[in-house]
C-alpha cells in the first residue's frame, strides 16, 4: 500500500506576516488562508478557477487561490484583501469602490479589488480595464459601477 502523504512544513509570508505551518501539501492555498490563517476575506465562488472570487497577489501577481496547492506557495509572498487597508484606512482602490458604489452583496468584491489593484499598479498588464477584470465574475453590479470605481482610482492615483 502507498504511504499516505504526510503533512509538510510550509513557510509563507501573508500580508507581511511570516507563517510556518504544518499542512497537507495539496491543501488548497485558499483553504489554508481561510481555515489555518483565519483570513476569510478571500472568498470561494466556484473552486474551479472560473470566477475570480479567490484572487490574491502571489509574489506580486494576481493568482487564484483555489487553484494553488499550498506546497507551491512555499516561500511565497502573498497579499490578501486584508492586507490592503492599513490602520483602518482604506486603500486607494477600496476608497474608490466606496465612493462609486462598486460593491453590492460583496462576495466578489475582495477578488475584484485585488485584480483592480494590480491593474492600477500595472496598467500595461491588460489591453483595457474590461480585460483586466474579465476573470472576476460579479452577479450583482452589472460591472458598470465597478468600472466607475476603477476609473476613479486611476484619477486619484
Amino acid at each position: 500500500m502507498k504511504e499516505p502523504v504526510k503533512e509538510q512544513t510550509v513557510e509563507l509570508t501573508v500580508n507581511g506576516d511570516n507563517y510556518e505551518i504544518n499542512v497537507h501539501p495539496l491543501k488548497r492555498l485558499l483553504d489554508v488562508l481561510r481555515e489555518d490563517l483565519k483570513l476569510t476575506g478571500t472568498k470561494e465562488g466556484c473552486g474551479e478557477g472560473e470566477c475570480g472570487a479567490c484572487t490574491i497577489h502571489f509574489d506580486g501577481e494576481p493568482a487564484l487561490a483555489c487553484m494553488i496547492p499550498v506546497c507551491q506557495a512555499d516561500g511565497a509572498e502573498i497579499t490578501t484583501i486584508e492586507g490592503l487597508s492599513s490602520d483602518g484606512r482604506l486603500s486607494l482602490v477600496q476608497e474608490a469602490f466606496h465612493q462609486e458604489g462598486g460593491t453590492q452583496c460583496g462576495i466578489c468584491t475582495p477578488g475584484m479589488i485585488m485584480s483592480a489593484t494590480y491593474y492600477i499598479d500595472n496598467p500595461d498588464s491588460a489591453e483595457n480595464m474590461r480585460e483586466a477584470l474579465a476573470g472576476n465574475q460579479c452577479r450583482c453590479t452589472g460591472y458598470k459601477r465597478i468600472f466607475d470605481s476603477v476609473e476613479e482610482a486611476f484619477k486619484n492615483k
Binding site: 481561510r34 481555515e35 483565519k38 483570513l39 476569510t40 476575506g41 478571500t42 472568498k43 470561494e44 465562488g45 466556484c46 473552486g47 474551479e48 472560473e50 470566477c51 472570487a53 490578501t80 484583501i81 486584508e82 490592503l84 487597508s85 482604506l90 477600496q94 469602490f97 466606496h98 458604489g101 460593491t103 453590492q104 452583496c105 460583496g106 462576495i107 466578489c108 468584491t109 475582495p110 479589488i113 480595464m129 474590461r130 480585460e131 477584470l133 474579465a134 476573470g135 472576476n136 465574475q137 460579479c138 452577479r139 450583482c140 453590479t141 452589472g142 460591472y143 458598470k144 459601477r145 465597478i146 468600472f147
Partner: protein, 797 residues
C-alpha cells in the same frame, strides 16, 4: 403614505446618501455564513442522485459510518414529513424514489470537508432506474408516468392554488376576462405562436450555506445565507415540531440571492445532521455544481400566445397558455405560475383575455422564485409576439404598444382599474425610445454600419410587474433611541446589496428630521431580536418596510413629545423639534434634548418620568384579495412598477454574431429615494437579464442528466459583455401608498430585455427567434432555418 413634500424641502430622501453596508465588504472583514467557524463544528457533504428518475431499493451507509471522524449519516428514512410553503411536496432527502439528477439522497457530517466527501463516496445506493419524464408538454398529457403519484395527499395553500391529482399538473391558474372567442371573430387577424425558455440558474456568487446547532432541550440555532429568516424559522418549526421560541435563525451578510434563497434550502438537512451528531454545529455549504442541480433553478417555460388584432392596431383578444416546467418539485413554482398568469398580457389592455397557466412536474432540477418571478420568461415571448402582430398589420411596433398600453381607466385582465397614480408605461416607452434615437440611425451609426459591414437595428419593449405575495403580507419596524439621541433600528429584510437598507435609513432620517449618520439600521437578520417580516422578495421591501419605518418614526416621536410635554408643561401640539431637542414653538428657548429623554427623563430633584423611547410601526399590504379560481378576477397587485427598454443592436448577417451597442431603460419608480443606488440596481438587473438573453441555460441529455453544472459550460456575463452604453432613467409618478411615493424596482430591469434584443436582431438580420437564449449560433441557425440541416443535440433546451 405619500407625503406631498416638494423635493426642495426634503433633506435626505431623493439624495445620494452613502450606502450603509460597504466598508466591511471592501476590507474583507464582512462575515458571511461560510466564514463562520464554531467550536467543534463539523462539515457536511451530500450524496446526490446520478439518475433523473429511479426507485431507491436500498441505501447502505455502514461503510461511511465506520470511518473515524464521521459523526452523522442521514438518509430519507429519517424524515417522515415534507416541506413547503405553498405546496408541500418536497422531502428533505429523497425517500423511495429520486425525481431529478442531483437530488439529495443521503448526507454526512464529519470532522473535515474532505472526510465528509470521502464518507459520501462510501454510501452505496441501489437504484432501479426508470425512464424520466423530461418534456413538460408531454408530461401534461401523460397520466401514466407521474412524478408525484401522491399529489392528492399533499397539503397546499388552497385559496390560491389548484393541483390536479392523478396528473403531472401541480397547479392550474385560470384568468378569464370578456369573451375571447367573440374577440377573435371581431379581429382582422388572428396570430398564434409559441415561445420557449430553458431552466436558468440564479448564480449568487455565494452558494447556499448554513450552520446549524441542535442544542440541549431542542434549542435550534441556525446561521444561514437566506432571504427570509422568518420563513426559514417557521418551516423549521413545522418540520421538527418545535415551538417558535426554540428556533433561532440568524442571517449574516448574504452574497446574493435573486430568489434562489427565498424559500428554505439547506437548513433542515444541516439541522438534522447536527441533531444526530449530538448537537455539534454542522456547516453545509453547497459546491457550485450543487448550486446548479441540488438547489433550485428557474423553471422552463413554453408560452403559447394567440392574439386577435384589428387593422387599426387594436389588440382585441388574446388567449395565453403557459406551460411551466417546474421540474421535480413545485412548491414555490406554483406561485410563479400564478403571478405570471395574472400579468400574462404585459402592460397592455386586452378586452377579451383567456389565460391557462400550468405548473408541470418533470424529472428535472426544480424551479423556484428568480428575479422577475416568471415575467422575464413570459415577456420574452410576449414582446416578440407584439412585434409580430405589429408587422402583420404593418404598424410601427412602438406605436402599436402605445396604442394598447395600460393607461388610467384601463382594466387589467384580473379586473383591476388602472389610475393615474399606478404609473405611466407610455412615458417609460417614450423616454427609452428617445434615448436610443428610435426610428432612425444616427450619422455615427450609419458610418459604423459601413465600416463593420454589420446591420444596426433598434427596438423598444415594455414591462410591468407587481409583487407576488400572499394578499395579507405584513412587516414591522422597531426604532429605539439611544442615550445620545441616536437611533438603533431593526427590521427583517435581508440586505444583499440592493440598497434597501440605505433607502430605509434615509426614510427614517427624513421622518425624524435626524441626519442619516445617527440612524443605525441593523443589517443582520435575527429572528430572536428583530420584528417579523414575511420575506425579502418580490420588490416589496421598500414599499412595505418603508411604510413601517415611517409609522415607527412617528410613533417614536409621539412618545418623545408626550414626555417632553410633561417636562415642558406644554401641550404636544405646541411643541416642535429639531435634530437635537424638542422645544415650545413660541418659546424656543424652552426645550429638552432627545438625549435627556432617550431612556427616561430625570428632574433635578432626582424624580424620573417617561422611559426608553421606542417606536414601533406595522404595515399590512392594503386592499389585496384572493383571485377567483374560475375567472382569476380580483386584486393581486400591491403596486405595479412599469418600465421600458430601448436597445441598439448590430448583427453580422453572415455569421450571426451580434453586439449590443446600447441599452436605455426607463422605470416608473414613483419616487427615487436614492438615485445612485437605483442606478446600481438597474444596471445589475440589466446585465443579469443580458445573461438570460445571450448565454445562460441548462442543457440535458436524453436521460435527464444535467450537462453543464459549472461556470465552464454555463457562462454568466463578465466585464467583456457589458454594452458600451447603458442608461438607467427614472420616471416619478408617485405611488399613493408608497413611502414618499416610492415603489420597488429590484426585479424589473431583467424583464423584457430579452424581447427587445430578439426584436432588434430580427430587424437587423431577419433572424426570427422564438427560443432563449440567443447566442450567435442561434442567430445563424435562425437565418438558415429553411435549409435541410440537423442542429447538433444537447443545446440549451
Amino acid at each position: 403614505m405619500r407625503e406631498d413634500t416638494p423635493q426642495e424641502e426634503l433633506n435626505y430622501v431623493g439624495k445620494g446618501t452613502e450606502r450603509v453596508d460597504t466598508t466591511e465588504k471592501l476590507t474583507g472583514k464582512a462575515k458571511y455564513t461560510g466564514d463562520l467557524r464554531m467550536p467543534g463544528m463539523l462539515h457536511a457533504a451530500v450524496k446526490r442522485s446520478p439518475h433523473a428518475r429511479a426507485k431507491i431499493n436500498n441505501i447502505d451507509t455502514s461503510d461511511a459510518e465506520a470511518i473515524p471522524g464521521v459523526h452523522a449519516v442521514v438518509t430519507g428514512k429519517e424524515f417522515d414529513y415534507k416541506l413547503g410553503l405553498y405546496l408541500v411536496d418536497k422531502d428533505v432527502l429523497a425517500r423511495e424514489r429520486v425525481r431529478h439528477h442531483g437530488e439529495a439522497v443521503a448526507a454526512v457530517a464529519a470532522e473535515s470537508p474532505g472526510l465528509a466527501e470521502q464518507a459520501v463516496k462510501k454510501i452505496d445506493v441501489d437504484y432501479e432506474v426508470e425512464e424520466p419524464v423530461l418534456d413538460a408538454l408531454e408530461a401534461i398529457e401523460d397520466d401514466d408516468k407521474l412524478v408525484h403519484p401522491e399529489l392528492d395527499d399533499y397539503d397546499y395553500f388552497e385559496p390560491a392554488f389548484s393541483p390536479q391529482p392523478g396528473t403531472n399538473v401541480a397547479n392550474h391558474t385560470k384568468i378569464r376576462k370578456g369573451d375571447v372567442e367573440q374577440g377573435f371573430e371581431e379581429a382582422d387577424h388572428v396570430i398564434e405562436r409559441e415561445y420557449t425558455n430553458p431552466n436558468v440558474q440564479h448564480v449568487p456568487m455565494e452558494t447556499h450555506v448554513a450552520v446549524a446547532s441542535w442544542k440541549e432541550q431542542d434549542e435550534l440555532d441556525v446561521h444561514t445565507s437566506c432571504q427570509s429568516p422568518f420563513t426559514v424559522r417557521n418551516l423549521l418549526c413545522v418540520a421538527f415540531d418545535l415551538p417558535h421560541t426554540n428556533v433561532h435563525v440568524e442571517v449574516p451578510y448574504v452574497g446574493g440571492g435573486f430568489g434562489g434563497k427565498a424559500g428554505i434550502g439547506v437548513e433542515p438537512l444541516a439541522a438534522c445532521l447536527s441533531k444526530k451528531a449530538n448537537g455539534r454545529p454542522v456547516k453545509l455549504e453547497a459546491s457550485r455544481e450543487e448550486e446548479f442541480s441540488l438547489l433550485p433553478c428557474r423553471s422552463g417555460l413554453t408560452y403559447r400566445i394567440k392574439s386577435g388584432v384589428t387593422e387599426d392596431g387594436d389588440l382585441v383578444a388574446q388567449k395565453m397558455t403557459m406551460f411551466w416546467d417546474s421540474g421535480a418539485y413545485a412548491d414555490y413554482a406554483v406561485n410563479v405560475t400564478r403571478a405570471s398568469a395574472y400579468s400574462a398580457s404585459g402592460p397592455y389592455e386586452i378586452p377579451n383575455a383567456h389565460v391557462d397557466a400550468y405548473t408541470i412536474y418533470t424529472n428535472k432540477p426544480y424551479g423556484t422564485a428568480y428575479r422577475g418571478f416568471g415575467h422575464v420568461e413570459f415577456s420574452w415571448g410576449l414582446e416578440r409576439h407584439m412585434d409580430l402582430l405589429a408587422e402583420t398589420i404593418d404598424m410601427d411596433p412602438l406605436e402599436f404598444r402605445k396604442q394598447n398600453a395600460l393607461k388610467p381607466g384601463s382594466i387589467t385582465i384580473t379586473g383591476e382599474k388602472i389610475v393615474e397614480n399606478t404609473g405611466n408605461v407610455t412615458k417609460c416607452m417614450e423616454v427609452a425610445a428617445e434615448a436610443i434615437n428610435y426610428g432612425e440611425l444616427t450619422p455615427e451609426e450609419k458610418k459604423r454600419q459601413e465600416e463593420t459591414g454589420m446591420k444596426i437595428a433598434k427596438s423598444v419593449s415594455a414591462l410591468h410587474k407587481a409583487p407576488a405575495m400572499p394578499s395579507f403580507t405584513a412587516t414591522a419596524a422597531e426604532l429605539r433611541m439611544n442615550e445620545d439621541g441616536s437611533i438603533n433600528a431593526d427590521l427583517s429584510l435581508t440586505e444583499y446589496g440592493q440598497g434597501t437598507y440605505t433607502a430605509l435609513t434615509q426614510i427614517i432620517a427624513e421622518e425624524l428630521g435626524f441626519p442619516p449618520e445617527r440612524i443605525n439600521l441593523s443589517i443582520k437578520g435575527d429572528t430572536d431580536k428583530a420584528p417579523y417580516d414575511w420575506q425579502t422578495v418580490a420588490s416589496k421591501g421598500l414599499l412595505m418596510s418603508g411604510n413601517a419605518c415611517i409609522k415607527a418614526a412617528r410613533d417614536l416621536l409621539e412618545k418623545a413629545y408626550q414626555d417632553a410635554s410633561e417636562v415642558l408643561r406644554a401641550d404636544p401640539c405646541d411643541l416642535d423639534h429639531n435634530e437635537n431637542e424638542i422645544y415650545i414653538k413660541h418659546h424656543p428657548e424652552e426645550s429638552v434634548t432627545f438625549s435627556e429623554l432617550a431612556v427616561g427623563y430625570a428632574y433635578p430633584t432626582g424624580e424620573g418620568i417617561g422611559g426608553p423611547i421606542i417606536g414601533v410601526g406595522r404595515y399590512m399590504a392594503q386592499g389585496l384579495t384572493n383571485l377567483d379560481k374560475e375567472t382569476g378576477q380580483g386584486e393581486p397587485a400591491l403596486d405595479w412598477t412599469y418600465g421600458s427598454h430601448g436597445v441598439v443592436v448590430e448583427v453580422n448577417e453572415i455569421t450571426g454574431e451580434f453586439n449590443i451597442l446600447k441599452v436605455a431603460s426607463a422605470f416608473d419608480v414613483g419616487k427615487a429615494i436614492n438615485p445612485a443606488n437605483i442606478r446600481g440596481q438597474v444596471i445589475g438587473g440589466l446585465i443579469q437579464g443580458l445573461g438570460t438573453t445571450i448565454c445562460e441555460g441548462y442543457a440535458y441529455d436524453d436521460e435527464g442528466h444535467l450537462l453543464n453544472p459549472s461556470f465552464t459550460d454555463n457562462k454568466i456575463p463578465t466585464s467583456m459583455d457589458v454594452p458600451e452604453e447603458i442608461e438607467g432613467i427614472v420616471i416619478e409618478t408617485p405611488q399613493i401608498d408608497g413611502p414618499y411615493g416610492a415603489r420597488g424596482v429590484g426585479e424589473h430591469p431583467m424583464i423584457a430585455l430579452c424581447g427587445a434584443i430578439g426584436n432588434a436582431i430580427y430587424y437587423a438580420a431577419g433572424a426570427d427567434l422564438t427560443h432563449m437564449p440567443i447566442r450567435s449560433e442561434d442567430v445563424w441557425w435562425a437565418l438558415h432555418k429553411d435549409e435541410d440541416r440537423d442542429r447538433p443535440r444537447y443545446s440549451i433546451c
